[in-house]
């Protein structure tokens, strides 16, 4: 079992209900493809570091996923790419052995996002925005 993180940024003009609906949809896609979303975080609206599609804010969502491989993401990623309301997405593997984490936690995150995420090792072991 491998652990992944799927983060995506949604158009902030969507209502909360729409955002929940959309992420439920994505969650269902992951689960039907054999992944398990064991944790879900919503960061809410956050300022973007740079404008995307003339927007300067985005709603951040984060899925923690357990799956046997990156195959669980092929469909979701494809859908996200096609959906103009998803500004960005990023899939990263989070458990690959070593566990020496920094103690610094991002203060702008209200949730307990960063500290308990296990280690990503080097670039080699990470499937990033690509389907195997």
């Amino acid at each position: 079992m491998r652990e992944y993180e799927l983060m995506f940024v949604i158009d902030p003009r969507l209502t909360d209900d729409e955002i929940v609906g959309l992420s439920d949809q994505y969650k269902a896609m992951i689960e039907s493809a054999g992944g398990e979303v064991y944790k879900q975080e919503s960061w809410g609206k956050r300022k973007l570091a740079y404008q995307i599609n003339k927007l300067s804010e985005g709603s951040y969502m984060l899925f923690h996923v357990r799956s046997d491989g990156g195959g669980a993401f092929t469909e979701v990623e494809q859908r996200m790419r096609q959906n103009e309301r998803v500004l960005r997405y990023l899939t990263v593997r989070t458990n690959s052995g070593r566990l020496r984490l920094p103690e610094i936690v991002d203060e702008t995150q209200e949730s307990e996002a960063a500290p308990d995420a296990p280690a990503v090792d080097s670039a080699v072991e990470v499937a990033e925005v690509e389907s195997p």
């Binding site: 570091a49 740079y50 960005r88 990263v92 920094p102 995420a117 990503v120 990033e128």
Partner: protein, 81 residues
């Protein structure tokens, strides 16, 4: 990097830089940890070169990867004036 030029010129004794991540025993950087990554950006949001930060190759790579991820997801800027 320790210039040991003897002779008439002034002798610089430069303090040897140590990779901060090695010193703190950190092997992983989360791309979400923007506060940490910020330390490795110069004012214009470029990635701080090893020559300046003193990071070892391995950790520089890890930092670089994390910064690039954070940039992609718009947690960190690519540039800033």
């Amino acid at each position: 990097m320790r210039p040991k030029r003897q002779g008439k010129r002034k002798v610089f004794v430069r303090r040897r830089k140590v990779c901060r991540m090695c010193a703190d025993k950190i092997d992983h950087v989360d791309y979400k940890d923007t506060r940490f990554l910020q330390q490795y950006l110069v004012e214009r949001s470029k990635i701080l070169p090893r020559r300046i930060s003193g990071s070892c190759a391995k950790h520089q790579r890890i930092i670089q990867q994390a910064i690039k991820r954070a940039r992609h997801i718009a947690l960190l800027p690519y540039t800033s004036e």
